[in-house]
């Protein structure tokens, strides 16, 4: 590699592999973080970035390969070990203690001490206030963490990491919830740290941030190292190509359909503090994408439409009939299906077998008299397992042993087996390998062609652009744009999503 600094890297991974059961999250990945250098980590969802971060933070232990600290092999038995080695981490998901104050959250585990081993509260408070001042945010250090917005939670996480005065600062999508203002401040602080000799690892899906902050980028694809480059030598397109591996168009075969009747109508739906005045329609045979930045409130809209959450105002109509609010069973009876974004928490019951998970959303269909017919249950699961090319040993195995992509297929099977007339899919391809992704897209296209109304929430712009007949864009809890397929481009969607587009 060109112009390698003469000193060994502060922290490095050498041919590290990590598997979760059948899911190979990382495979022989190497990475070097140098003092005073900001390093980006890029890759699609599920590429293994967070896993890599968690290995560096001591939360996961690698199955193979080594962690090198100042060139010497090191072993992290837990987050405490990594912290002692000077590694500070901002995790992708905020991990705060809701019952404790913001200050305590920042200093938990290493509170400043006064006499008799007491915690020096005033000192902690002063330091927290100083940190927030540096980040240019107004947060009361004495406020409890419960009730903070995601953005504020993220800021607390950032303050927590910065407070460590670490030698290595690892940030897994720290900016996902932040606005430009805070990002600029954050970059200012990180830049200062870097200049003082701190090594920085930065994960983000916002390419412009990578180009602004970093000097070097490592790209992962499906857990494997793709390339390590100097940012200066690249264009954003190069980076996308490295992440995806092929041209996007090839991935999303979209079948043309003629939209029919309005199948789903959402009118002035509001959930206070989350989204406001959302109205849209989806016609039979149409694939409508709901785009927006993370946290824009898209999943919340889907949840409210399906009745998982109770909306504060507005109504949902399916096939012209008003839906009883806050009742998933009513929504299901009306022909609605929701493939939720979080399959582990919301989509599946990990301890239950594949067949029972699939049957759970359609219990009446597998009943013979008052009893469940195991044969019918198995037949239903088997049909869909074959159609979705599910890889499994036995249908009676718990679903938790399947690989991530196959788990996602089970969630899809669970809902498709109901033959819904309106299908809402939230991040349908998150964590799915590239091959399966194409399969899911093909399936969604076929369903739409067969007359199903599809509402697709996705954070992946290429997926949105490739699949959708229409793109609805949300920004800060409001629907800000409705872009037909012909006009939908990366620029137009992103402009709307960041609030700069035409309303």
């Amino acid at each position: 590699m060109p112009d390698r600094p003469p000193v060994p890297p502060v922290l490095a991974l050498h041919r590290v592999s990590k598997s979760f059961g059948a899911v190979r999250a990382l495979h022989e990945v190497s990475l070097e973080l140098f003092a005073g250098e900001a390093h980006a980590l890029a890759g699609e969802n599920g590429a293994g970035k967070s896993t890599l971060v968690k290995i560096l933070s001591g939360l996961h232990r690698p199955d193979a390969g080594r962690i090198l600290l100042d060139g010497e092999p090191a072993e992290f038995h837990g987050p405490a070990d990594a912290q002692r080695a000077g590694v500070a981490v901002i995790y992708q998901e905020p991990t705060l203690f809701p019952d404790l104050s913001v200050t305590e959250n920042i200093f938990m585990g290493r509170q400043p001490r006064a006499r008799f081993g007491r915690i020096d509260r005033p000192a902690a408070r002063r330091r927290a206030a100083a940190l927030f001042a540096g980040l240019g945010v107004q947060l009361d250090p004495d406020q409890p963490a419960r009730g903070l917005s995601i953005a504020d939670q993220q800021l607390v996480e950032i303050a927590k990491a910065l407070s460590r005065d670490a030698r290595v600062l690892i940030m897994d999508e720290p900016t996902a919830a932040l606005s430009g203002n805070e990002v600029a401040r954050l970059f200012g602080v990180v830049e200062a740290l870097r200049a003082r000799g701190c090594a920085v690892l930065f994960v983000s899906h916002r390419l412009e941030e990578i180009f602004e902050l970093c000097r070097r980028v490592t790209t992962l694809r499906d857990g494997a190292f793709v390339s390590g480059d100097l940012i200066a030598d690249m264009t954003p397109d190069d980076l996308v190509r490295r992440m995806v591996g092929r041209e996007p168009e090839a991935l999303f075969p979209k079948l043309d359909t003629v939209p029919g009747q309005v199948a789903l109508a959402v009118r002035r739906l509001t959930r206070e503090g989350v989204f406001t005045d959302v109205s849209f329609e989806v016609r039979a045979g149409e694939v409508v994408a709901l785009a927006g930045l993370v946290g824009a409130g898209r999943s919340e809209v889907a949840r409210a439409v399906f009745g998982v959450d109770r909306p504060d105002a507005g109504r949902v109509e399916v096939g012209g009939r008003r839906l009883r609010p806050a009742s998933p069973s009513a929504a299901m009876a009306a022909g609605l299906a929701l493939v939720p974004e979080d399959r582990r928490q919301q989509g599946l019951i990990m301890d239950l077998s594949i067949e029972r998970n699939i049957a759970l959303a359609g219990l009446p269909a597998v009943r013979r008299g008052p009893l469940i017919s195991r044969a019918a249950e198995r037949a239903r699961a088997h049909d869909w397992a074959v159609r979705l090319r599910l890889k499994f040993a036995r249908l009676a195995d718990p679903v938790g042993v399947l690989s991530g992509g196959n788990q996602q297929k089970v969630v899809l099977a669970k809902w498709l087996a109901r033959k819904p007339s309106v299908l809402i899919v939230d991040e349908p391809t998150r964590g799915i390998d590239v091959g399966t992704k194409a399969e899911v897209h093909r399936l969604l296209s076929e369903l739409a062609a067969g007359g199903v109304a599809v509402l697709m929430i996705s954070s992946e712009l290429p997926e949105v652009l490739g699949m959708a007949d229409r793109v609805l864009v949300m920004h800060e809890g409001r629907l800000v744009a409705d872009i037909p397929r012909a006009e939908a481009t990366e620029e137009s969607v992103m402009a709307a999503a960041t609030g700069r587009g035409a309303a």
Partner: protein, 355 residues
């Protein structure tokens, strides 16, 4: 426990840069957080006012002394229980530990009158800590759910107690006067046992608030996953909480022996639910992460005062259990309703700020 606890997030508001004045809502929150204990104090004051109005004898120094004395043993147990509950666990075995240590202590005193009382008390505490360590290892290391582990040891410790006692009862007459005097002695007009409970309360309360391990217990109960990420030694802390609860139960056993003088294998049977009730009424969240020992002790005092008041008000003895139960439920329902209100208020406030 979904992600909801971490707060309902609002869309990242650009307007957050033009900051809304945070203090008002925050003051509301912290005020409400304190109201829990304040509520008990108010309830206590009310109880004393009403009962005192009907029967002024209730407010006499003697009567207050008795109430303090009556609540001190449960208070010590509630302090230990709070330590465990804060970490999102529970210790059902306390009553059996009290029984075991009370009997052990009384037996030594009766059969070996030469052993000095402080040594016996230390022995009781040690015995309790040992029992606590068994619980702690089962829960913290072997990952047995706390409810199961301590229900099991509830039976097991009591079994050991019965086997040890073998039908024997130690009477007041068998124990040295000096030890029994501890149970009824007063210092500066305050019962010694209440002072012991007060000392334990202040020490534990101070440690929970001011020492890092204390705050880490809250962190563990508040978000166990985040506790691991923060580098807290979760297992060690959980074991320590159980050991402390056991040690305090051991101390409570010694207090029991000193106070009541008559000790057999059945001492404190069924007390565990009283203790948990005191903790819950005291505003300690049963799912961990919040609550103070002060609240728990106030809960214990409140429950003891209710019993005394019901007796003084000449409420039928048979109705007391029902009233106790109703009050426990009222307390937790109020707590919950309050929490829901606050959550709703916060959500709406953020909505207004964002708009």
């Amino acid at each position: 426990m979904s992600g909801r606890e971490t707060g309902l997030a609002a869309p990242a508001a650009e307007s957050a840069a033009a900051p809304a004045p945070p203090p008002r809502g925050d003051r509301l929150v912290s005020r409400v957080a304190r109201v829990r204990e304040l509520g008990i104090v108010v309830a206590l004051v009310l109880l004393f006012a009403v009962t005192g109005a009907v029967n002024p004898g209730f407010l006499s120094p003697d009567s207050l002394r008795d109430i303090l004395l009556n609540s001190s043993i449960v208070a010590v147990l509630a302090i230990g229980q709070t330590l465990v509950v804060i970490t999102r666990n529970v210790d059902l075995s306390v009553s059996s530990v009290v029984g075991l240590s009370a009997f052990g202590g009384a037996l030594v005193l009766a059969d070996h009158p030469g052993v000095p009382a402080p040594l016996v008390i230390a022995g009781c505490v040690l015995l309790g800590a040992l029992c606590g360590a068994v619980n702690g290892l089962l829960v913290g290391v072997a990952a047995v759910p706390a409810l199961v582990a301590t229900l099991g040891t509830l039976y097991a410790f009591r079994g050991v107690d019965y086997a040890w006692a073998g039908g024997r009862q130690v009477n007041a007459a068998d124990m040295p006067e000096g030890f029994l005097a501890l149970g009824s002695a007063s210092v500066l007009g305050l019962p010694l046992l209440a002072l012991v409970a007060l000392a334990v309360l202040l020490a534990v309360g101070w440690a929970l608030r001011n020492l890092p391990p204390g705050r880490e217990l809250y962190a563990i109960g508040s978000n166990p996953e985040a506790a691991v990420l923060a580098g807290i030694r979760v297992r060690r802390r959980v074991v320590a909480a159980f050991v402390a609860s056991g040690a305090l139960a051991g101390l409570a056993g010694a207090m029991w022996a000193a106070r009541f003088g008559t000790v057999d294998a059945t001492v404190a049977t069924g007390k565990e639910l009283d203790v948990i009730a005191a903790v819950v009424v005291g505003g300690v969240a049963i799912f961990g992460g919040s609550g103070t020992v002060y609240g728990a002790v106030l809960g214990a005092v409140l429950l003891a005062s209710i019993s005394s008041a019901l007796a003084v008000l000449r409420v039928d003895a048979l109705a007391q259990t029902a009233i106790n139960g109703a009050l426990i439920i009222t307390a937790i329902v109020l707590d919950r309703v309050l929490a829901l209100r606050v959550a709703a208020a916060l959500r709406r406030r953020r909505y207004r700020d964002a708009a």
